[in-house]
Amino acid sequence: MDRINIGWSKEEMATLVANDIPDGSYVNLGIGIPELIANYVPQGREVIIHTENGLLGVGPAPAPGTEDFDLINAGKKPITAIKGACFFHHADSFAMIRGGHLDFTILGAYQVSQNGDLANWSTGSPNDIPAVGGAMDLVQGVKNVFVIMSHTTKDGTPKIVKKCTYPLTGVAVVSRIYTDLAIIDVTSQGLKVIKLAPGIDKNTLQNKTEADLIF
C-alpha cells in the first residue's frame, strides 16, 4: 500500500476521516495510516488524541533532533504532548478504552466482514509471530470503530468480505470503513456506500468487494 494509483491517496483518506471527527472528540489512532489523521484535523477543532501507552493529548511529531524516546506513541515513534495533556499508567489507559470513554478509534485492517467483524492482528499463518497489542480492547470499548485501509490487497484480493478468513479481532465492531475507493457504513441492512472516490463507479467498487454493497 505504498502507492495508491486510483481513488484517494493516503493523505486524502486521512483528511476524509479527520473531517468526520467532531470538535471535542477523544480519538485513539492505530499504528500506520491512522497516525496521519492527526495532521489533518480541520482548523478550529480541538480533538484530543489518546495513545494507549499512557498519554492523552498527543501533539505533532517532534522536530528532528528533539525526539525524546521516553515520549512515544503506540507505534513506539517519538511524539510530543499538547498543553493540557496528561500521563497515566496502562491500567488507567485501558480503563479509558474498555470503559467506553473514547469516541473514536481508527484502525488498519486485514479484513472487514459485512457485519463489521474485524481481522487486523494475525494472518493465522503458523510462521507469523502473533501480536495483538491493544486492538482487541479498542474494538470492544471505543464508541465508534473506524477502519482505514486499502480496498484490496496489492494483488487485488478483496479485503471487505462476507466472512473474515483471518483470525478475528472482534465481532461486529466496525461501524465505518474508509478505503482508497469509498467510504462504507456497516449498517443493520448491510454495507452501505456513502461516498465514492472520484472516478470510481458502483460496478468497479462492487467488483473489488467480496461482500454485497448497498448504494
Binding site: L56, G84, C86, A91, R98, G99
Partner: protein, 239 residues
C-alpha cells in the same frame, strides 16, 4: 474548542433528572461537593439513587438532600457517622433503602464501572451476611464472592484545581472517591477551588485525566461541613 467550564453549580447540575443514579464523592466532609449538593437540593430532582461512602452529617450537604426526601436508595459503606442524624431516622422509619457495601468493594465496583469490567471476584465479605445470596467461587483453594460494577448517570465530585479540558488535581485526603467516581458516570461534574489555564497543570501530576470529566465549575471558597454542623445549620438556609 473544548470548554467544559460552567459558571455556577446551578447551571452545572441543571439537567439531573428524577430517578437518576448519582455518585457523590467524599469521605465524610473531605472531598464532599457540598455546593453541588446544595444546588441539587434547590433544583429539586427526586427519587434518586445515591452512591456515596457515607450518608452525610448534620443537616447540610448530603444529609440535607436525604432530609428533603429526594433519595429513595443509598449505596454506602458507612452511613453511621458522628453527627449523622438524618439517615438513622429515615432508615429506622423505612423511608430509605440501604445497600450496604464494604468500602473496598464499593471502591472497586465503582472503578470497574468506569473501566469496562462488569464483574469481579473478591475475598471481602465471604462468610458474612453481606455475601449472602451472592455467587461464591473457589479459586486456587480460596473462596471469593462475585461483585458487579457500579455506574451512574452523574457523578458530583470536589477537586482542588481543574482546567477547561476537565483535568483535575485534588487536595490531601479529599481525593478519596473522586478519581474513580469521575470514571464511572456518564456525566461527571466537578467543583474545584480554582480553574486554571490549560497547560498550567503539569501532565505528570494530573490525577483525573480530562476524558473522565464533562463539567467543571469553580467554587472558590467551599463551605466546611464541620463548621456548619457545629453551628447546627440547615440547608436551605433559614435566617
Amino acid at each position: 474548542m473544548i470548554n467544559k467550564v460552567f459558571k455556577t453549580p446551578k447551571e452545572a447540575i441543571a439537567d439531573i433528572f428524577d430517578g437518576a443514579t448519582i455518585m457523590i464523592g467524599g469521605f465524610g466532609e473531605a472531598g464532599s461537593p457540598i455546593e453541588l449538593i446544595h444546588a441539587l437540593i434547590d433544583q429539586g430532582a427526586k427519587n434518586l439513587t445515591i452512591i456515596s461512602n457515607n450518608a452525610g452529617s448534620g443537616h447540610v450537604g448530603l444529609a440535607a438532600l436525604l432530609e428533603h426526601k429526594r433519595v429513595k436508595k443509598i449505596i454506602c459503606s458507612y452511613p453511621k457517622t458522628a453527627f449523622s442524624e438524618v439517615f438513622p431516622d429515615l432508615y429506622c422509619n423505612g423511608e430509605i433503602e440501604l445497600e450496604l457495601v464494604p468500602q473496598g468493594t464499593l471502591a472497586e465496583r465503582i472503578r470497574c464501572g468506569g473501566a469496562g469490567i462488569p464483574a469481579f471476584y473478591t475475598p471481602t465479605s465471604v462468610g458474612t451476611p453481606l455475601a449472602e445470596g451472592k455467587e461464591i467461587r473457589e479459586i486456587d483453594g480460596k473462596f471469593y464472592v462475585l461483585e458487579y460494577a457500579l455506574k451512574a448517570d452523574f457523578s458530583l465530585v470536589k477537586a482542588y484545581q481543574g482546567d477547561r479540558y476537565g483535568n483535575l488535581i485534588y487536595y490531601k485526603t479529599g481525593r478519596n472517591f473522586g478519581p474513580i467516581m469521575c470514571m464511572a458516570a456518564k456525566v461527571t461534574i466537578a467543583q474545584v477551588n480554582k480553574i486554571v489555564e490549560v497547560g498550567e497543570l503539569d501532565p505528570e501530576i494530573i490525577v483525573t485525566p480530562n476524558i473522565f470529566v464533562q463539567r467543571v465549575v469553580e467554587v472558590a471558597n467551599p463551605l466546611h461541613e464541620h463548621v456548619l454542623v457545629s453551628q447546627n445549620k440547615k440547608y436551605p438556609w433559614t435566617e
